[in-house]
């Protein structure tokens, strides 16, 4: 095991250690502010997407257009595999999540014997305007109070502020890794390991682990293959990431919400609840976000001096496809070569030849 692997193992370890002695709140997406759960003295459990597993129950209730990871999660929730959770929070940040929530509720209503965790809909909306801002703030508060009720904790502005400070501190610690990503010392696969572990760590633990990664990286050679942006809404598919990087290329930034974007810094304000709501609405990407990806693409491409962009659009996509032509044209205008991969839902090996061809041409260029 290399020094870097050893350092990264701290994040793997955090992600895999079972929580004990605290209420557990499952979050099905990074779009739900984990600091609300921590402020109420419960443990946020980020349910990282699984690409394999059973979908028997999902096949019974869900239509063809739900992605495989959501089907596996549905099976786990409806089949009792998540019964250790005291609450399962689902955001209203895509139609798939909203249906996931309503479908689970309906299974619960029709088959009460099933051991489905208690569900909470985090009804975050994405348009602007005063009424939506008020609504979102109310939703943030409602989730906080619900977890407080679960843990028997009195809601407190200080606890909330403390948790928001911790969250900001974690984001700051992670910013220190950005130069390593942008200079292709850390791979996209390394980054996913980090992001998967962070939710289960305190700021101090994150800080120590980040420093260990930085130290270990000093002996890691810079990868010389193409620096790529991974664009599109696709979930963090480790096999796809590994397949791309096996060619020597490096994913220096990814657009989806399971990657680095969720840890980008955000404005603070005197109104903690309002600031948390606004950040969830505006900074964290989702299918319903209004912020077109163009600013982010521009910034990410120039910060990492990216040479190419790989778009991954799942076969069931019904939304990102509307953004794709403009994003593709923008990438090309920025001098990036582009590759569109779709579909790669189940087996990224299917995309192997396309990736090789693209990167060979990249190399020749």
């Amino acid at each position: 095991m290399s020094d870097l692997d050893t350092a990264l193992a701290a994040f793997d370890h955090a992600a895999s250690v079972p929580v004990q002695g605290r209420r557990q709140v499952g979050l099905v997406s990074p779009q739900i502010p984990a600091e609300l759960v921590r402020a109420a003295d419960a443990a946020p459990i980020l349910l990282w997407p699984q690409f394999t597993g059973s979908s028997d129950l999902a096949d019974r209730y869900m239509e063809y257009f739900f992605e495989a990871p959501l089907r596996h999660l549905f099976d786990a929730a409806a089949g009792g595999a998540l019964d250790h959770l005291d609450l399962l929070v689902v955001p209203r940040t895509s139609e798939s999540f909203t249906k996931f929530y309503l479908y689970l509720r309906e299974v619960q209503r029709q088959e009460p014997a099933r051991n489905i965790p208690t569900l909470h809909l985090f009804d975050l909306l994405h348009t602007q305007g005063e009424s939506v801002r008020r609504h979102n703030r109310g939703e943030v508060e409602r989730l906080y109070h619900r977890v407080c009720a679960l843990t028997g904790t009195a809601p407190s502005a200080d606890a909330l502020l403390g948790a928001a400070d911790d969250e900001a501190a974690i984001r700051t610690e992670l910013q220190a890794l950005l130069p390593l990503r942008r200079s292709a010392v850390l791979t996209g696969c390394d980054a996913l390991r980090i992001y998967a572990g962070v939710r289960a760590m305190t700021p101090d633990q994150v800080g120590n682990a980040v420093r260990a990664v930085i130290k270990a990286s000093s002996t890691v050679p810079v990868r010389t293959g193409a620096r790529l942006l991974l664009l599109g809404p696709s979930l963090p598919h480790p096999a796809l990431c590994a397949r791309i990087e096996a060619t020597g290329a490096t994913i220096v930034a990814e657009e989806h919400p399971w990657g680095g974007r969720v840890f980008e810094p955000a404005a603070r304000s005197g109104d903690t609840l309002g600031a948390i709501a606004e950040r969830a609405r505006h900074v964290v990407p989702s299918a319903r976000s209004f912020s077109a990806g163009s600013d982010w693409i521009r910034q990410a491409a120039s910060a990492a001096n990216a040479q190419g962009a790989v778009f991954v659009i799942p076969s069931n996509d019904d939304s990102y496809g509307w953004d794709y032509p403009a994003c593709r044209d923008l990438c090309r205008a920025l001098g990036l070569r582009t590759l569109l991969l779709r579909p790669v839902d189940r087996d990224p090996a299917d995309a192997g030849a396309q990736i090789d061809e693209f990167l060979a041409a990249e190399h020749a260029a």
Partner: protein, 422 residues
């Protein structure tokens, strides 16, 4: 496509009125250059009617384009531009026509720049379609958000008339009222016109009366021994009245429709005297082949007697008391998507409707290109089958006829009728 004879006098009147309205709309928008809005069908048109701002409804515009057989051309064009084939079609046909930008073939020579575009965010793609469309037309897009419902109670069609405040949840209604007021302020600011609240209240009262009358027509049809009105004529009359909801004409037309239905019921007239099996059509209309609805009458005595448009009028629109018309409108805007596409509302309602209408079999439209319209289909099928109503899925699109094989689909349905309905 065979034309099916119209059995009701009011159906012809609806067609004539719609034609005149269409000509007037065209005159106002194209010739006089009046400011107009492009709106999704499920947005609060009432607000624009109260400001006397003409509107073009996206889905209606899509039907106009489809009727000119232009859908294949436009969808192929979108594909050439890099928009993949899995994207939606129903709501994107108008965008495609604008992007294609050839006035020589587009209906009306293409839509001129509107005042604004407005859509409710009932899916993940509509905001993108409208944003692109707004950019192409050089007009702003006003999105209306779509809050989720945390604990929907299944029997909404009973609770929604008088207990609508609690059914649709006060915090969601607050949000929707806020958004509607923001829309009004936006439209006022862009047109210099004033939203006439007295006119709006009067419109809401007329709508309430119209939907009540349509509810009576619906009950007559459901309870008659044999269905007195084909489903295609139910749709035409309901949709035309709904199109003009809030006007004296809308109410008068709904009343004339109800009266003609009643006269047929009283006289014992059946739309199809040979009726032996009653079918339910679940989903939007099959606009590119409405003759499909009559295809099994002669051969199997199978008659489509139910589609959502008429039964939804009373349950989906009426709010009592109507003391706060804006809040009542907000409750309609907030809930329409759940009622028609989400469990437990849609599956519970369809079982209730199937029983109330003595339905023998159900056909469910499954549009591949519109996920929300295909949502809940498994709950629907399970619950209807459990209630003794066999279900057949029909995979096609409402406006895109490229993958529609009429004879093959008729053969499938014939097999279903013979094997499942006996």
């Amino acid at each position: 496509m065979n034309r099916i004879e119209k059995q009701l006098a009011v159906t012809g009147q609806a067609g004539a009125y719609q034609k005149a309205w269409f000509a007037d709309l065209r005159e106002r928008i194209l010739t006089r250059g009046e400011p107009y809005a492009i709106m999704q069908a499920d947005t609060p048109h009432e607000i624009f009617h109260a400001m006397d701002i003409p509107i073009v409804t996206n889905q209606w515009w899509a039907a106009v384009i489809a009727a000119k057989q232009l859908s294949p051309l436009y969808f192929d064009f979108l594909k050439e531009q890099g928009y993949h084939e899995g994207l939606c079609r129903y709501c994107s046909l108008g965008l495609a026509a604008t992007l294609h930008n050839d006035p020589s073939i587009a209906p009306w020579g293409g839509l001129p720049k509107p005042l604004l575009l407005c859509a409710r965010l009932t899916c993940d793609c509509v905001q993108r379609v409208f944003r692109l469309w707004g950019d192409a037309l050089g007009a702003p897009f006003f999105p209306i958000d779509n809050p989720g419902i945390e604990s929907p109670s299944p029997r909404w069609w009973e609770d929604g008339i008088e207990n609508w405040e609690s059914l649709y949840q006060p915090h969601r209604l607050d949000l929707m009222v806020g958004q509607l007021e923001e829309l009004i302020a936006f439209a006022e600011q862009r047109t210099g016109r004033t939203f006439d609240r007295a006119h709006f209240s009067r419109m809401m009262e007329l709508i309430d009366r119209q939907e009540t009358v349509l509810g009576e027509a619906d009950r007559l049809i459901a309870e008659a021994p044999k269905c007195p009105v084909r489903v295609a004529e139910q749709m035409t009359n309901t949709m035309t009245a709904q199109w003009h909801r809030g006007t004296e004409w809308g109410l008068a037309h709904a009343t004339a429709f109800r009266d003609e239905v009643r006269a047929r019921v009283d006289a014992g007239i059946a739309a199809v005297p040979n009726e032996r099996k009653r079918l339910m059509w679940i989903g939007a209309g099959l606009w590119h082949d409405t003759s499909f609805y009559s295809a099994f009458e002669e051969s199997h005595g199978a008659v489509f007697t139910w589609s959502m448009y008429l039964p939804f009028a009373f349950a989906g629109y009426v709010r009592r008391p109507l003391t706060d018309p804006m809040r009542a409108l907000a409750s309609r805007v907030a809930s329409m998507n759940e009622q028609l596409h989400n469990p437990p509302w849609i599956n519970s309602w369809l079982v209730h409707e199937a029983q109330r209408n003595r339905i023998d079999g159900a056909l469910v439209l499954m549009p591949k290109s519109c996920h929300p319209a295909a949502a809940s289909s498994k709950f629907i099928a399970r619950d209807l089958e459990a209630a003794g109503v066999p279900v057949l899925e029909i995979w096609t699109d409402m406006v895109d006829s490229r993958d529609w094989d009429g004879p093959a689909m008729q053969a499938r349905v014939a097999t279903f009728l013979e094997e499942r309905l006996g």
